[in-house]
């Protein structure tokens, strides 16, 4: 207040100068007294460079004029680093990152691998204080670990069934290495985005997929045939058996019928055998004679019929 009262005395330029200076300082200090930490951040408060506290999100007071400095670290943000490709907003082809995505496999073949690492800066103190360039260090480790893991596996395995196991292995080793460097980083996830054979072997690899499908198809076609024919054969077998049973039925019935017929005839025959015998014989022959070509009567006294047969044969 004293300053303002004297500030009216314009003849003293030094005082005016001091007043302006002080006013500027007051305004400046008001600006540097407060700081805000965003919801996704934590603030490291450094007093003359020394870490005194870590501030949670919100509006906070600090000492002005650079005595307290605040380094804000987005601890709650899930950050992503890409390897072997980039988020394709720029339209850069994947081949531009050949050096990152080309891997030598354990059988000394090559595969192209693109992946990303999702991580969070869980410990802001470690993240800022322990490693000079944590993000690039993370990138170094990630590439090294992926090469180590793919370098210990067969190319065919990496290209086909090994993905989830690789992701898990890389995540674990990456986390271990980050912990060793005390980087304050937690690896949430490692995602393999593509695992491709190099361009020159794509055809052979695609044919491999086709070969797998062929193998399955061959088997399925055979199975289909099996499914069609075996039940039909079972049906046919049942038919054969049922037919046999039908045959038995018929055979029984016929046998019983014919037997009965014989017994009945026999019973009647026994009452007058001679007449019946003759009648039956003659009736039969009567039916048959009209159809017979010739009837030769031979005297019982003659021995054999052969000479006569010969004559007939010659006549023909």
């Amino acid at each position: 207040m004293q300053i303002e009262v004297e500030g009216k005395v314009i003849e003293v330029p030094i005082k005016t100068f001091a007043t302006i200076l002080v006013a500027a300082l007051v305004v400046l200090s008001a600006f540097t007294l407060f700081y805000q930490v965003a919801p996704e951040e934590e603030g490291l408060v450094l007093r003359f460079g020394r870490h005194v506290k870590t501030a949670e999100p919100g509006l906070h007071f600090k000492l002005p004029f650079g005595i307290d400095r605040v380094i804000k670290v987005p601890t709650r943000i899930l950050a992503v680093e890409s390897f072997g490709y980039r988020d394709n907003r720029t339209g850069t082809p994947v081949s531009a990152y050949r050096e990152e995505n080309s891997m030598l496999t354990g059988d000394l073949n090559m595969v192209l691998v693109g992946w990303d690492v999702q991580f969070s800066r869980v410990n802001p103190k470690d993240f800022i204080f322990n490693v000079q360039d944590p993000i690039n260090t993370l990138r170094d480790i990630s590439q090294s670990v992926m090469r180590e893991v793919t370098g210990d596996r067969a190319s065919i395995l990496i290209l086909t069934v090994g993905r989830s196991e690789i992701q898990q292995q890389v995540r674990e080793r990456l986390q271990r290495q980050c912990d060793q460097f005390r980087m304050g980083i937690h690896i949430n996830e490692v995602n393999l985005l593509f695992v491709d054979p190099p361009g020159a072997v794509v055809d052979a690899f695609n044919d491999l997929n086709k070969a797998e499908q062929d193998a399955v198809r061959f088997f399925e076609e055979a199975s289909k045939q099996y499914q069609e024919r075996v039940p039909r054969a079972k049906g046919e077998a049942q038919r054969v058996i049922l037919e046999a049973e039908g045959f038995r039925q018929r055979r029984m019935n016929v046998a019983r019928g014919e037997s009965q017929r014989f017994v009945d005839m026999m019973t009647a025959y026994k009452q007058s055998p001679d007449v019946t015998r003759k009648r039956l014989y003659l009736e039969t022959m009567e039916r048959q004679l009209p159809g017979i070509k010739e009837v030769v009567v031979v005297d019982e006294a003659l021995q054999g019929v052969l000479p006569l047969m010969n004559v007939r044969g010659g006549a023909l």
């Binding site: 073949n109 067969a154 190099p198 062929d214 099996y226 058996i241 014989y281 070509k293 005297d299």
Partner: protein, 349 residues
């Protein structure tokens, strides 16, 4: 803060001496600032006086004193620093040209020595370029390529059967031994192991070798820097031998494709065989059953007929003879009868 309050007070009491006071305060402030230095958590400092380093390096973060003007402070990082080497062309023991890119972590452990021998992180990078690239070349030249690429022998122990069944079909009954597994690591040599079961080669061994070699070379320079770690960031074939690798991969993939197809055919044929066996079993069982039934029927029929006919075999014979005439005498038959035949009697009439 204090300084400025002082200015205000003095100004308030006597304006005439204000100029002198202001100058004095500024001078004191200037000297005061020069007597203090702040050190961040990740920093360390060496105090230099006329080119000599005074005392031990300051590693505690916060505000520190020094003799103003006479002493200078050189601040260095105390965090892990990153060295990212350039791509190096290296030749392995088995004469394969590869491109290697290694990266290292280093840390200033003795800031005093660092100030004396190196001076700046940029110069350290240059020094490491020489040391580590040399170490990388030397170490990799001691091993075959597979010993640099692989870390263990797990590729040899890979369960090929598991792989194939998972590729083809879960419930498959496949004899995986039939497959040519060269691509699956079957033909790659094993990493040598010593008596304690420690690997004598392999990526970790190579890296440890490079690190040891780098540390030894760095130790001789007395830079106060410690190498924390070495990582192989990139390791690729030189473009000259890539074409050969592709040809080899193509050949191996074709071999596996053929293997898959033949396994598929094998399983299909097996299935068809099973089917034929099944069909033959079903059909023959049916025939067996049917023949048994028919046989039983015949036997029973024989019994039934026999029971009846045995009651008068002569009459049966007679009837059956007549029946035979009915079926055997036809248009082209010549009938020869005796004169005593009843038929003759019939014809005479």
């Amino acid at each position: 803060m204090k300084d400025f309050q002082a200015i205000n007070k003095i100004n308030g009491k006597a304006g005439a001496v204000g100029v002198n006071v202001l100058v004095l305060v500024a001078a004191v402030g200037f000297i005061g600032f020069n007597a203090l230095f702040a050190l961040n958590e990740w920093e360390q400092a060496v105090v230099v006086q006329f080119g000599d380093i005074k005392g031990d390096p300051v590693t505690q973060a916060g505000l520190h004193f020094k003799v103003p003007f006479i002493q200078q402070v050189q601040i260095y990082d105390k965090r892990l620093m990153r060295w990212d080497g350039p791509e190096t062309t290296t030749i392995t023991k088995d004469r394969k040209t590869i491109l290697v890119n290694v990266t290292a972590r280093w840390q200033i452990k003795d800031a005093k020595a660092f100030r004396q021998t190196v001076g700046s992180p940029e110069r350290m990078t240059t020094i490491l370029n020489g040391i580590l690239q040399g170490a990388v070349r030397d170490e990799i030249a001691r091993y075959d390529l597979y010993e640099v690429v692989r870390s263990s022998n797990r590729i040899l122990e890979m369960d090929s059967e598991e792989l194939i069944t998972s590729l083809v079909d879960e419930d498959a009954d496949v004899d995986a031994e039939d497959m040519d597994l060269t691509t699956l690591g079957g033909s790659t040599p094993a990493l040598s192991v010593d008596r304690q079961g420690q690997f004598q080669a392999g990526r970790p061994v190579v890296l440890a070798g490079i690190l040891e070699e780098g540390r030894a070379r760095l130790g001789q320079t007395g830079t106060g820097v410690e190498l924390e770690d070495i990582l192989i960031k990139q390791l690729n074939y030189s473009s000259a031998i890539e074409a050969n690798v592709y040809a080899q991969m193509n050949a191996e993939l074709q071999k596996i494709s053929a293997g898959f197809r033949s396994i598929g055919r094998q399983r299909a044929e097996q299935r068809l065989g099973e089917m034929e066996r099944e069909l033959a079993t079903i059909q023959s069982q049916a025939i067996e059953a049917s023949e048994r039934i028919r046989g039983e029927a015949e036997a029973e029929a024989i019994n039934i007929y026999a029971d009846a006919y045995n009651r008068d075999p002569e009459f049966y014979q007679f009837l059956r003879t007549l029946q035979a005439y009915e079926t055997t005498l036809s248009k082209n038959t010549a009938l020869i009868i005796g004169t005593d035949s009843p038929l003759y009697e019939l014809l005479k009439r």
